[in-house]
């Protein structure tokens, strides 16, 4: 079987779930005739028709609101944000309507809200955001950030079948850059389970999305120096797989967290608190983090490169921690 890109894996997940379940519909801006700004839904309108692939006005709040209503009526809507930066326009619908619905009055919202996030493509301050932590701080949501084509497909299928509002952040840098052989048969990847991508003994590097690949490259570099880093891919940020995180730290005794999200209030802080609360006696060094700067995402290539984590920055921080 030919190798499948991360983008194609997402398209396959949507198409296969729409084939499997007529309750699955897609709603968003330019998702139908145009096939989505990144072509993630290309071909879906042809296959499933106008009633199931719905082009909307430029109204993010109405898109999410309508999808919530569809979920109440028994459908399993997929709503697309053309760029995930625009999710801010629908913040109230997500955090006050969808997230609190089951807790408040026992009304589940089976909604998947997906869209392209992330930098490294010179998209500038409004087309590069990683807004996951606004939502990780919102009880009732699930937040998924896949790093591989296999996970993108398997986790999107799980998200569609889930009874809760799931935010599915697709890293646009990975859309066409990574590809892999995927199984022919239907499969899912469980929400809330991290994955150890590389075994190691000297330190743990926790990451997700595009930064997983940066971390794996850094681990390969470090191995040349005799430093064996264990690399954990979170895959889901909410709910967080605390068991896998703590097990790895108990094994390596040192922790570096790498994320593309900005530094203050990023998931690294939460993980650091989790580890000090639960595995303090296992730590042989300070918890370190490599993140983007606390600034908006800048446009010019040298500025964005300076802003983002890099293999060199991860290697440097990991080396220092390994020798601590």
């Amino acid at each position: 079987m030919a190798e499948t890109t991360y983008l194609e894996a997402i398209r396959q997940a949507m198409s296969e779930e729409m084939d499997r379940d007529p309750a699955v519909v897609l709603i968003g801006e330019d998702v139908g005739v145009y096939g989505g700004a990144f072509k993630a839904s290309e071909g879906l309108l042809e296959r499933f028709g106008w009633e199931r692939v719905i082009d909307t006005p430029i109204s993010e709040s109405a898109i999410v609101g309508a999808a919530i209503g569809m979920g109440y009526a028994g459908l399993r809507p997929l709503a697309e944000m053309q760029f995930i930066d625009f999710i801010a326009c629908a913040f109230n619908q997500i955090t006050n309507f969808a997230a609190k619905s089951h807790y408040r009055w026992g009304a589940p919202v089976p909604l998947v809200l997906r869209g392209p996030c992330g930098g490294g493509v010179h998209g500038g301050p409004f087309h590069s955001a990683n807004p996951e932590m606004y939502f990780v701080h919102t009880p009732g949501l699930k937040v998924i950030c896949p790093a591989t084509a296999y996970d993108a497909k398997g986790l999107l299928k799980s998200a569609i079948r889930d009874n809760n509002p799931v935010l599915f952040f697709e890293h646009k840098f990975l859309y066409r850059r990574i590809k892999e052989d995927l199984p022919e048969d239907d499969y899912t990847v469980p929400i809330g389970k991290a994955s150890v991508r590389r075994q190691g003994r000297d330190l743990t590097i926790i990451s997700y999305a595009a930064m997983l690949h940066t971390s794996l490259e850094a681990a390969a570099e470090l191995a040349k120096e005799g430093i064996e880093a264990e690399v954990v891919d979170l895959r889901t940020l909410l709910p967080l797989d605390t068991e896998t995180i703590l097990a790895s730290v108990r094994k390596t005794n040192k922790l570096l967290v790498v994320h593309e999200d900005t530094r203050t209030g990023g998931i690294a802080g939460e993980i650091a608190a989790l580890v000090t609360e639960n595995a303090f006696e296992h730590l042989d060094g300070p918890i370190r983090r490599v993140t983007s700067l606390d600034t908006p995402v800048p446009y010019a290539p040298p500025l964005e490169e300076y802003f983002l984590p890099s293999v060199a920055k991860v290697v440097s921080a990991a080396r220092e921690l390994a020798h601590y």
């Binding site: 009633e51 807790y103 009055w105 009304a107 009874n163």
Partner: protein, 406 residues
Amino acid sequence: MASSLTREQHLDLYYYMRLNRDLEEQMVRLFRQNKIVGGVYSSLGQEAISVGTAYSLGPGDWIAPMIRNIGSLLVRGFKPRDILTQHMARYTSPTLGKDGTSHFGDLKTRHVVSPISMLGDLIPVMTGIAMAGRYLGQKIVAMTWIGDGGASTGVFHEALNLAAVQKAALVLIVENNHWAYSTPTERQTALRDLADRAKAYGIEGAIVDGNDVVAVERTAREAVAHARAGHGPVLIEAKTMRMRGHAQHDPAEYVPKEMIEEWKRCDPLDRHEKFLTENKLWNAKTKQEIDQRIARELQADVEFAENSPFPPPELAAEGVYCEGCHTIEADWKRPKEEVMPPRSSVVAKWQIKNPNAAEGPSKRTPASTHSPSGNGARPAPSAKTSAKPKHAKKSKGARVPVKAGH
């Protein structure tokens, strides 16, 4: 005043309005006794709107009431005890004490969506329910309410616009009670009539005397029929007056006294009682029987609420996620095969219906081809474009068509 309702239905309208008012009087009493945990948001003087609009719906239809639409909840089959226990934060309430006031609902049988406190957000949600209903072949109508203040939100515009292009079976009741907390309508909008907004979305609009329950019911019934027939959303502006403050804590001293006095003369319950008497639909004995029945029901439900426990504290940690406790099930009223390949397959190409856009500025003839599914909608019974909104058949006295300018 002509009405198509039966005597029993007219008495129903009285029952629900009287129940609504007497229930709220009980809630005010409980509030003064410190038995209400949060606020009480009075709908005094607005009962005809809650009751009349909800009464026009069928059993399969959906509603999403706002905080002052307790009357709609009663019409939909919720009991005074549901509303009392909600306000008193008891474990026996529909939300088990997790939320208060009229923030509750029922997806499965009564088809009621709980409001949130942020205004306007119910409109896209109910649009989505109407879209899903059409997709599932249910022929349902979704109704929700908004105030003159809530009509100022951005999501009001987004949602009504989406509902219009989707020809969603949505009926939006704009309750113009002239006050958004302390701010008068003239500081919310430069329009005299909020119903004029309908024209901006290319949808049907109407104005109704919100204190005349018979007129409200008839106007809503027409709007519901229009929406159910696939002609698109309807906006009804119901003119009324908020006779109390924003909530029980607010004496509303900012409201001119003469305004209150004037609206007191239009009290919706007084008017309906007069209507029933003048049309010989009841007598003193009928009234007494209904009033006594309400008093009995309220007494029992107040006792029930007062004797109900608060929820156990540990409940606070439960129920954030649905972990298999609910099933997501669509009620299909059409063959699923219609929406599955190969039958669902289409040519992914727009057919532009707007004659101005499709044929250029010089040709103003109507488009000869029509693609009813081009905007995701199912074929509507009327294939005309919505460039010029059609007015549904008017009924005497109840309904004022929207006119541009004043």
